[in-house]
Symmetry: D2
Subunit: 308 residues, 4 copies
């Protein structure tokens, strides 16, 4: 066969298995989403449509890849935890990281019109992905805490692609938080300040001062803003108890209060799915929360997330 | 700051630079495209719309990433050569392979309606990607020869996702070529044989016998079939000579005969682009061919493809 | 400077950090030690001088690299556990694995004359080394159990370089144990059988039959053979309690019964060393045992081995 | 079998093949050789015995591993080039780099007494090793040029372990060359200056001034110093022509003038060896030179070094 004398080139494809017995933390980030948000007129400081589209794509990914047990997203990034016992694609690195990134991207583009019906997508948006291995539960917990804390205390220039780009990109700037962006855009949009002036006005202010500006000048109580903006999105693969009333299997998303989760923060959107396992009785469904994942309760109530 | 005591988890992200001085061969493959082709009723053995959509996404990728100098695609796969001197994303492996895969995917989904106006995409299609390093020109040449020879002499079950799945998935099957698929589907669609019978009828036939069946029973001269089907798609970043008549810069694809390429196989679709370089005078544009890339002429006429 | 235009070649040295937070298991194996044992007339089935030389080099390595907390050796191999928090050489893979292998080799050659005073080393013996990462305590425990079980139930052709090479190198052979070698060499050396006949005589025998042959024909009670041969060597970095009587700091090895270790198997050779730490009071010394490390007691009594 | 339930731990040993088709450049460096040179009273600035011992171990390594075609050493480092087509140990990274380092170390320790008959080795000396991949001949040439240029223009604190440690460890210091060390030790040993004063005296001097100090104060013509010190050691696997008179096969090193190498710098020590190949007629032997490897003649006269 003609191909055979060329086939040696296949020998340059080297194996890239990921270490067994470790948690796979897969994170994707929007590529040049500052430009995407400008070109498509995203609302500042948070565009709920864009965030919901991210959530949608993340949920699609979890429905397709059942070894993902929990995910956290905010702004243009999303992190997914694969159970440490996963044998997805024989733990081949490039295969996993590209397939997940591709699937998320496809869902994002496919569902764009549902969230931006009047704003056609003008060019292909893209994401980069990476996989980080964590050996133990502690590091996984701390990873998610890092992302959520970071989203509350975020340097605008470091990772919030929708934020003012002239903010100082420095270690000091890492203390500027999401609160910063909220006040900043209030000053610009309602206060009609230039971005430069708004930035100047906030220089050196502490959190309590920012709260005061928001409340006194613009009547905004930061703590009453949507939890999606303040906490990010948490997608959890919840187990459905057999003795509980069966949850309706549905392709359509339905927003309900989750009775099993007493956290008042929980705004639940759920979709049920048969778990591919020998015990056909065990089912899981992916539930969306906007809740704290830094402290213990979230994890203590879901021991299965980190068990295997 | 709250985040700092968690930030150590960032230390688990290990560097993954690709060896300098080597060619980067990036290949993507459709994930479960057999199912995609069934669900969306792709034509057999080749769906021109699907192939053109692949070409479109590949061209978009080359327009965005100018370090890609040549690409070859067939069926649901595409291979891209990045120049060996590329410093894209500091040659970080995961960053490059995920971003390219994501961009291609986004383009594929975004432009789907143009090629399948009456067939809405029913779920997110995805691709996996990989990067293989090749140290020298010889291996790059042989890689492309391998892919093109493979597309002509292809095991249907191995990699052609649109082909009959019951064909033997074995080393013997590797000798069954694209010709096989053409005869097979002629027997099924025009000959009204079952796929099982068609497969039986072809068992043990050699190329000349397949040509005869096609010609005698169905009046098909295989050698007159579209070159896109027989040769795959070759996208080349061509340099625009300064002293030549300026090519029209256009966002719209225009099909022309390429006067600089005497190969009669060349059906040219071109789009011109300013090259981002110091010499603003040098321009490149990406041109689509369906030509032989196994033999020397293609490469000898374009020494810049492998030079750096 | 002349060197500067060549210095770019340094850029081809890629980083190779090992994942943080994982145990480093470093194992070395003698390279072609079957030949070494032949050329230097090692005793069969076990040469105590050769085993003690291995122990000596292993102890030297542990004295030099205090992040090694426990080691296990048998035949021509030795495994070393580095604490998971080690930052030795910034966890650079090649640096660690080559330096440890080099140091062990140097000690082996340097001390050879002490163990083989009448047998000069005729050529340079060498070892290969590797590092395996284990994420959790369970896997580390199982690794050591695997090596010790393997040394008791060892395929002669697989890894015991001193054993009869014509034994079947197969999965079945993996059930042939060290007991096998003992009977085999009894038959050859005392029974004056050819190696071929001895092998035939043992074909299909089970453990109890081998015990019988040893006892009835040669008067050997296998269970009374030296524990070094039956259990291998275990080197432990023991902590010296502050309130206990100070152990004598000594460069000379002294064989003593270890009063803190009630295992009757323990034949203790110890050497004391100041631990390089802020608390100058805390000292460790490396102690040699020939004891079971498969079951819990060994590990439960030394919780510090796996703690960090 | 008892071992089987532990055997899963073997699955954590990940494959580590080196990219095919690339040159393997293996370099080893003495570990803490500054201390070694102090403890064993090496002569300054160059100890010929120590250098010859390095050469001896390097030659042993080349005799054992015939895929090494050329090597360059100076001070406590040695670089070895393996042909790019080598399949040694299936190009497994850790296996190759540890085995080579171990073998070199063993030879170094084994032969120490021949070079230091009155200075017993007081502790195990060790080396670290690394492998760097180079895709093309140009990079290999530049690598060797870099090492030789570096040895002539060497920062004492950066890599010459025998040199004065208080010299500035900075980029500026990289211009201080071997010449520096020669003048420095002349001032200290013959001029009876303190190391501090000697360093002060040389601060800011250029090459011509150092030459003058050497000549005027100490009567030393730098250019007449042994080429071993000025050029380092070059070990080459030379092919023995069939039609030439057979070279004597010998285990004993014999110093001869190499008639085939017109470079007056060549001080040749050679040992002949049958090449393990199908053509039993082709033989190679390793020859030692102290010659320039930066310019073309060395390479042009030996095209086989870089051919495969």
């Amino acid at each position: 066969m003609a191909g055979s004398r060329f086939e040696y080139v296949k020998g340059f494809e080297l194996p890239d298995p990921l270490l067994p017995g470790t948690f796979l933390l897969y994170r994707l980030d929007g590529h040049s989403f500052h430009r995407l948000s400008d070109v498509h007129s995203f609302q500042k400081p948070n565009d709920e449509r864009a965030l919901k589209l991210m959530d949608h794509a993340a949920r699609d990914l979890m429905d397709e890849y059942t070894d993902i047990v929990v995910a956290f997203g905010e702004s243009d990034e999303f992190s997914f935890l694969l159970r440490k016992s996963t044998t997805l694609y024989n733990r081949r690195h490039a295969k996993i990281v590209t397939t997940l990134t591709s699937y998320f991207t496809a869902s994002y583009v496919l569902h764009w019109p549902e969230y931006f019906p009047d704003t056609p997508l003008r060019y292909p948006p893209s994401f980069d992905g990476r996989i980080v291995l964590y050996p133990s539960e502690k590091e996984v917990r701390d990873y998610f805490a890092w992302r959520q804390a970071d989203s509350e205390h975020r340097s605008p220039s470091a990772s919030n692609p929708y934020a003012y780009r002239h903010a100082p990109d420095s270690l000091v700037a890492a203390h500027i938080n999401n609160l910063y962006n909220t006040v900043f855009w209030a000053l610009v949009q309602q206060g009609e300040q230039s971005t430069k002036d708004a930035h100047e006005a906030l220089r050196g202010t502490v959190s309590s001062q920012k709260h005061e500006i928001l409340f006194n000048r613009f009547g905004i109580n930061y703590n009453l803003l949507p939890e999606r903006f303040r906490k990010g999105s948490v997608l959890v693969r919840e187990e459905v108890k057999e003795d509980s009333d069966p949850l309706p299997s549905s392709d359509v998303e339905s927003s309900t209060e989750n009775p099993n989760f007493p956290d008042s923060e929980a705004k639940v959107i759920q979709r049920t799915k048969e778990k591919k396992s020998k015990k056909a009785r065990t089912r899981t469904h992916v539930v969306l929360y906007h809740c704290d994942i830094i402290r213990d309760p979230f994890w203590n109530e879901r021991p299965w997330l980190l068990c295997a």
